[in-house]
Symmetry: C2
Subunit: 339 residues, 2 copies
């Protein structure tokens, strides 16, 4: 009988101990691949502020929108955008279907495989290649092509699939924001249809949350009477520079509370985000780690580049407006998952 009487007390003690444990357990670090520093502090501080109902900067969950540039912000963009590699690799197949292109520039140069000559291709040349390799087929065919290419193509430096060249610290930011009620979007100068093929698997971002450069499609019927969409050459949205803000309005219809980029093509997106009331978070990834990844600016005396330019003027605007610059060298403990 004595033993029995102790039951309720033991139970109460047990429940109490569990409650105490839950209250004092140390919080798991949501950003383990980040060094302690102002960049990490800015992210955590922002999230704590806007999720705290007692804070004047509190933001209702449905308003929590965060936008991320992709190339150079979420994954490697040097020496060449991944999508451009896909387009170059597609040229032989395109020429096979249209043999007359073999003798026409810029296709002739691409087919030659001469890397030096290819590096000299102009922006107009590149646009011709993009148009020929990204349009004219059905949406389903295009998705199948991209999927197949991603499975076999390897980055020449790391000998890994391109989808493994994502930045682990940024994947942690995506997850951390989503765990705090954010809808995370990719807002990329790259092709919307291209990124959508792998965004869910690679970033946990569903296709409907990918805003990118988009060409029109045309509805039609196959011989079997089944409807399908053909990718047309007509440009609907050029999702770079001011086009990123116009794309955000078209596809999301709300101003983001947080925006992440790495180049002058992201400037307007960060300006627009920062112009909203309340607490906002604007961040720029600086590629200053030639050893572990690449180094380019030309801000901070880093080598100049055509791919993902981060000019001094952008750094000046960042300082003026309170945007946080992420140094890959100083802020990222690890860069890739497989390191």
């Amino acid at each position: 009988m004595k033993g029995r009487n102790l039951w309720p007390i033991a139970l109460a003690l047990l429940v109490g101990a569990q409650l105490a444990l839950a209250q004092t357990a140390p919080q798991t670090d949501p950003l383990p691949s980040w060094h302690e520093g102002p960049a990490k502090q800015a992210i955590v501080g922002f999230v704590q502020k806007i999720t705290d109902k007692s804070d004047p900067a509190y933001v209702a969950p449905e308003e929590r929108i965060a936008t991320f540039d992709q190339d150079g912000t979420l994954w490697v963009e040097h020496p060449l955008y991944t999508q451009v590699r896909f387009c170059l690799d597609r040229v032989p197949a395109v020429v096979k279907a249209k043999p007359e292109l073999a003798k026409v520039e810029p296709f002739k140069t691409v087919l030659s495989g001469n890397r030096e000559a290819m590096a000299k291709l102009s922006m107009q040349d590149l646009e011709k290649i993009l148009a020929a390799t990204l349009t004219g087929m059905s949406v389903d065919e295009f998705q199948a092509e991209v999927k197949k290419w991603l499975e076999t193509a390897r980055d020449p430096r790391w000998k890994r699939p391109y989808t493994e060249l994502t930045y682990l610290p940024m994947l942690e930011v995506l997850k951390y924001l989503r765990a705090n009620g954010f809808k995370t979007y990719i807002v990329t100068g790259g092709g919307q249809d291209f990124v959508r093929v792998y965004s869910e698997r690679v970033y946990g971002i569903p296709p409907e949350q990918v805003v990118g450069t988009a060409s029109g499609t045309k509805y039609g019927y196959g011989k079997d009477g089944k409807p399908f969409l053909t990718k047309e050459a007509k440009l609907l949205l050029n999702d770079s520079f001011a086009g990123k803000v116009e794309g955000i309005h078209l596809m999301i219809g709300r101003r983001p509370y947080a925006a992440f980029g790495n180049s002058s093509g992201d400037r307007e997106m960060l300006e627009y985000t920062g112009a909203g009331p309340g607490a906002r978070l604007m961040m720029l990834v600086l590629h200053d780690d030639a050893k572990r990844e690449y180094a380019y600016g030309p801000a901070e005396g880093l080598p100049d580049t055509k791919v993902g330019t981060f000019p001094q003027a952008l750094l000046d605007e960042a300082k003026k407006r309170g945007w946080i610059v992420i140094s890959m060298k100083k802020d990222f403990k690890k860069i890739f998952t497989w390191e």
Copy 2:
């Protein structure tokens, strides 16, 4: 002591009773404003099928996309689309800002208030009115104008705000689908920016899930240096007929599993939805209740109309393809919340 010994038994009985209750409690009808019949059965049957993991037609939650036309499918569109009423009401303000328009058609006719003359305005006239009243201002100004108008404008027949003219049975479908993991989208021929102002409040559909006819915007800076977007007259997406499918691809990037419409402008959206593999649900609202709402076709011998035409050819295609026709007269127990 006897009483004490009964405690564990009483507790066990109580817990058992609650479990039994949870297991045998009749499920609440998710569609109480629908009469029992093939339309209601089709909706409930479809949802049960695609959410049942043991069914071959099971659909993963992230793939559950449902698209709804708005005018005539979710709310009243007769005798005139609500957005057109907004545009007509805006004409005096536009003419005040640009007095030279007062003597120019079609503005002259609209200002006259002569309803007979207004009813005769051509499609081109209407487009001029839409362009003048929907573009040229900042996105923020436009949103504020729509919000203000919705607060004061009243439908002439029911003397109620337009946002109260939604169909209760369709609101139940939206909620039921969302409760079963669906993302619900509006895919409307109406203006995306217009519908987004009230979609969250009225339908529980956030702005980023509204696909509609969209004009481009232009990024610029105000005198205070703050960035803002101006609504331009350049049409980006004409979200009707085949444009609905093109809009779905642009804004969602996945094929819907369920699509709801009411007119020939929704035909392609239903075709495209139905062309996907697995179980799909395609439904058309037929306005056959002149007493409680409006009656128009011309299918089924109903009066012909220019607004929300449901031609015989659409009914024939529906029968051929297994699309379900919802009769407002026979399927809707109640039409409006306030009935």
